[in-house]
Symmetry: C2
DNA sequence: GGAAAAACCGCAAACGTTTTCCGTCCTGAC
DNA sequence: GTCAGGACGGAAAACGTTTGCGGTTTTTCC
């Protein structure tokens, strides 16, 4: 880590250089490379050769200025951990990179000042559109920019905005259906803080869909930790010793439940089946036994969001909220070995 | 999700509009807004007012074309999970967003074709520079672009390139020092695959630095799972029943070790102290007891990388590899309660 | 062989900035 | 009253591309 040298001034080829080498005008060169206008096949080929020879790549800055589009979109997220925004980002990129769009990542860290800063910067850059996402599913106030926007995972509070979210009720229902199919008839539910929208929705989904199969009196709200899963297990077994299934609002809670049941000598799933939620591999795989869980299909959510954003950019905007289905992933914690 | 309306044609103000409103030429307007040239305070103020009134934000496209810089850099990563690249990204953003630079995220998913695709796109965009990172620490082949590049976490195989990596040896040594300070004298090490560079480096760091305190005969290589941690614990207790500390190459392994020790009725840390590595909160916090671990300081690594990239862009490039220190985070698994 | 039509290609404007250079006006000194 | 110099602001080029229009050449047809 010592010596310093000046960076050599790299000269990249411009279309002017290509045109000169091919012996044509820049306009002609442009047409040749973009397969537009009417040119003889011979000149087209000659220009292409020249471009190859010089390693020419058209400067998107010029193109952006001319076309009015930057072929850039931004992902604005509050989820620093990336637990949720990473899969969404992958889905978004999937769709966008096919269309030669690039994605700028802006992590607001839940700081309104940072958010404002980023928005100004993005508007200055004339990005083609913005995908807004978060780590929680509570609806959020819309952002105020003269650009197409799609809200992913957390809907906009303005119902007229375009939002794509997860159908939590359906996810919870699929868990209940799964357990019913396995003959379970006395179901409980343990989840996170009552004021978390996802906790509340998953809980009501389970309770509503289970009907008389819900045998635990009430849902146990706590936090998203394994610790709480263990504690809740004790509570449940004391108040309702005859349970044969415990559904959880997250994989962490479910893992705590499994751990505690094992410590108490109760077999999962023979005595009691356990289900998680989120399908977080690091939890579902490491749990003993591995957890049946609900996959949020966030990559698909990202893809859909990106597609809607592209539509909005193209001028055909869809208004309102789109709810996407989840996918149940059965594992040993309900199926056994 | 039904009706479709055409998006109204949003007209954003150009500097021409500002100039017209202020009654000056565009050149003058530019100077007024950028505090350059020599203008009377009165005109300067008049132009500013006009800009405010129109909500004018200068179009970075024009600026980029004129200045030769795009004020955009890319983070090229192979780490889809984001486990490592997320903190690095945060650090990078920290430094870059202060300079009004934006960060494009490119996830290659370990696919050389995708990587090529992204590189072409980035060169076409004339980004100012690229930070290359990965989820593993093995040195990687350099990328071939006419741009400043900094390699973060995984160094370039070309030693003349600029790389910023973690000093794994130092991290391992700090664990040993910690245990020695607590009076532990019979230390073992359990880690991941032998052909993983980070596993090998951490292992040799522990062995070399522990000297005669290393009492386990040899390092146990396996995989990065809790399962392996549990299994290795059995092996170790059989072969070396008198151990008083087990150091692990990852937090997952360490958690497995703790779980198994508890199942066997051995107290952590009274009987045996346990340490992890990576300081992954979801593991260190959830483990019983919480894990003493080594923090990789990835955010700092991101900041340093970004700073070196800025230097390179400015023309003062530093060649070679910079190794950053880690930070030991003591918790109950060595300290007790 | 001539005219009409088609094929081909160049010119110049346009996108939105910044910056250099130059002209005009004013001030003040002699 | 003239001139030098400074203060101020405008005109135009430059960045790199795309595209509409018009001009020139070639082909086609009678």
């Amino acid at each position: 880590m010592a010596n310093r040298k000046p960076v050599p001034a790299k000269q990249v080829a411009r279309i002017l250089d290509v045109a000169a080498l091919a012996g044509v005008s820049v306009g002609t060169a442009s047409k040749a490379l973009n397969n537009t206008g009417q040119l003889s096949p011979a000149t087209r080929e000659r220009v292409r050769r020249a471009a190859d020879q010089l390693g020419f790549t058209p400067d998107t800055r010029g193109r952006a200025l001319q076309s009015g589009r930057t072929y850039t979109v931004a992902l604005l997220t509050t989820d620093s951990s990336g637990r949720f925004s990473n899969p969404i980002m992958r889905g978004v990129e999937d769709v966008l990179s096919a269309g030669e769009l690039a994605t700028i990542l802006c992590d607001t860290r839940d700081d309104p000042l940072r958010e404002q800063h980023y928005l100004r910067s993005l508007v200055a850059r004339r990005v083609d559109g913005i995908v807004v996402t978060g780590r929680r599913t509570e609806p959020r106030p819309p952002i105020d920019v003269p650009l197409p926007v799609v809200y992913a995972l957390a809907a906009s509070t303005d119902r007229a905005d375009t939002s794509v979210i997860v159908d939590e009720q359906q996810g919870a229902a699929s868990v209940v259906d799964h357990l019913r199919g396995l003959g379970r008839t006395r179901i409980a539910h343990v989840t996170g803080p009552v004021h978390h929208r996802s906790a509340a929705e998953r809980a009501s989904g389970v309770v509503d869909h289970a009907g008389t199969l819900f045998a635990a009196g009430e849902v146990l709200f706590g936090d998203w930790s394994e610790q709480w899963g263990r504690q809740a297990t004790d509570q449940l077994l004391r108040s309702h010793p005859d349970l044969d299934a415990i559904t959880c609002g997250s994989d962490q809670i479910a893992r705590g439940v499994c751990d505690r049941l094992r410590e108490l000598g109760r077999s999962v799933p023979t005595d009691i089946a356990v289900t998680g939620y989120d399908n977080w591999p690091v939890m579902t795989q490491a749990s003993r036994p591995p957890l049946t869980s609900v996959d949020l299909q966030l990559e698909e959510l990202g893809r859909q969001s990106a597609q809607l954003l592209l539509d909005a950019i193209a001028g055909t905007r869809r208004y309102g909220t789109l709810e996407l289905p989840t996918r149940l992933v059965p594992r040993e914690s309900t199926l056994g070995t």
